[in-house]
Amino acid sequence: MAETNEEVAVLVQRVVKDITNAFRRNPHIIDRCHMHPAASKPRLYHCMEREHGSSIYKMRKNQQRRLGRKELILSGTLNPIKDLHLGKLALTKFPKSPETWIHRRWVLQQLIQETSLPSFVTKGNLGTIPAERTQRLIQEEMEVCGEAAGRYPSNYNAWSHRIWVLQHLAKLDVKILLDELSSTKHWASMHVSDHSGFHYRQFLLKSLISQTVIDSSVMEQNCLRSEPALVLPKDEEAAASTEEPRINLPHLLEEEVEFSTDLIDSYPGHETLWCHRRHIFYLQHHLNGRFPQSMTQLSPADSPGGTLSDLHLIPAGSQLSQAMEVDGLNDSSKQGYSQETKRLKRTPAPDSLGLEMEHRFIDQVLSTCRNVEQARFANAYRKWLVTLSQ
């Protein structure tokens, strides 16, 4: 067949349109193509030909093979949005498919690079936020990931794609992170052994911490440059004049701990929940020791609104000095420690109040649980906590 490039391009565009329309008319068409999940895309189209009973696919299938989808997109023949839509449908059948996710990320990258419109805009006090178009793309990806996660347990590919979108499309925008934290809460509570789902929550919290620490150091700089009076997070006026909306990190972490408690009590015997708890506890005490030096030197007299502890970011006075000492510990003499333990030793010791509460929680679980696995996990958690404070 001696067609010109343009003719081929037109044909292919029509193929994609036909396929998309076919799907739209009958979403279950893809179910009737009962194939092994590893089957390739050309086979998918071939199967659709069988179902849809049209011979146009046979001819075009060959052409499709000659022109990869990337080339089609780059040449402007295939609309990236349409390609994303097709990918979304493919994921309903093959929710894990690595190639589909990888290709999807490539397409998204094309979309944000190619456009002359900015992906991010400045909005008054809020600094830069994603443009509306970018927001829509992000929302769509969140939805696609959510659906794929529901179709296959602990769908690592779907969740890591979700993380990628937040990192590269949303640039870890704080508001989006917070929205994701609250919107995935219910899903997590209904998928208590989905490790990837809970890992996603850990990622969100970690990102919120890192984004806020960045803000704090910016705030600190502003602070030092301006008036001696400390800008308190509780001070509404002060908050409005800073770059980003204030978020209460310790409160968020507390909420997550409560969430974890609730789930562990309601659904005994799921290791994922206990793993999640370890991560949250680690984030909590890691956060406590991480606040910049200058802030800790302020005495209560400096802050008009209240005491140091009102800042929510620093634990009650005495524990802080204790934390500084631990920082200087040399552990090179100790052999045979795991990487995690070494890392933990470099961070300040967890505050004793937090540890005490955790031990009480473990006691409560052990005294009331009747599930063998639950008891095992509770004891393992206790052992882990003990290694933290050594």
Binding site: D31, H34, P153, S189, S193
Partner: protein, 198 residues
Amino acid sequence: MKLYSLSVLYKGDAKVVLLKAAHDVSSFSFFQRSSVQEFMTFTSQLIVERSSKGTRASVKEQDYLCHVYVRNDSLAGVVIADNEYPSRVAFTLLEKVLDEFSKQVDRIDWPVGSPATINYTALEGHLSRYQNPREADPMTKVQAELDETKIILHNTMESLLERGEKLDDLVSKSEVLGTQSKAFYKTARKQNSCCAIM
């Protein structure tokens, strides 16, 4: 966490009779749904057959957990769930359903009943409501009267069978399973995953 089926059965002296069933196969692909439903019926009947009166058991098969309660009066209930669904709530549901069923349907009808003849319509509603265990049973966390230590745990379907009995034979002899389902089972078996629907 998910519930896939909820059935009420009668454990007769000669055989087990299915009285009423409700299914939620929406998470399975369109093509597989009728086979999945048949297998759940087959499994429910088999489990009741091999459980004694006055016992509760949980049978694990890959990612599924089948919870059964056979009352002393031979009325039985089976819930097929995934491995996230809390078993305590599953047994609460079974207790509730059998209690309600026994009040609405006359005992005389049990030994000879079938889904077509039995007049009990609440099953679908219960199945749907209990998809969210905390909404359906807010007292989940509270200690149930049920003594969980008395629940028999089977790690596979095979452990329910008699010595020498093979699941493959029971499947091929079954009246409940259609030809397509039996073929499906054979293929899945070859891939070393019984009823690997997911």
